[in-house]
Amino acid sequence: MSILSILFYAIAVLITASTAMAVTRRNMVHAVLYLVLSFFGTAMLFYLLGAPFLAALEIIIYAGAIMVLFLFLIMMIRMNKPPGEEFSLNQLLPALLISAGFMVGSMVLVGGNAMGRKALQAAQASPETFGIYLFQTHWITVEIASLLLLVALVGAYLLGRKVRRPSIQEREDMP
């Protein structure tokens, strides 16, 4: 067992444990913080698997931007009542069944994959080669992604602007 594989298993345990913690937390701020830890672990994993540029992006975009957006929203939304039951039983059971079924099915698929039994050799795609590859081969996809981000910007603005009509709470306040 080489040092790299020990590192892989340590990171895998960290990611799985922190994601499991995030999924089961009742307090959403705690969940987001555990998920930040999980994304840092994923960034380490990406570095280990030879994608240093993606490791940096994972920290900047996932742990930095997306999770902070979640924190903003959680702080904007005041939970006036603590939610009584977080997991209702008639929803928990099908969810457990579906995810367990998915897991069993894909474990069977992975177990039958003889091609993936050989240990991988470590390699790195330097950010420079990766960037050249991305913009030479996938330039049109990059353009489409930028268009998608523009559409998201407009959509988020449209959804998020103030409503002129009184909301339900204000209507209740009115005599």
Partner: protein
Amino acid sequence: VIVPLNHILVLSTLLFALGMFCALARRNLIMILLGIEIMLNAAGVAFVGAALQWRQMEGQAIVIFVLAIAATEVSVGLAAILAIYRRSGSTDPESGAAALQEGGPR
């Protein structure tokens, strides 16, 4: 020498199942969106592992686009949750749907 690809795929499957469970079982729109994020991230892990197995940068390029889609989805999704919250006063999926039906599209 790192681990075989199958171990990476098992890790990715575990993460995906956790995210799926989160999206299906939680009764809160924010946690559902969080579960979708976990699932996208799990797919990214599988792609990076496959990129290393076959020495192709294709997999890493796809992860970049997954990142872009995740950012898009979160920004629009959170704005929608905020709109639902303003209208119904809760982030429960059922009450949100009820409020949208009552008010209709703006």
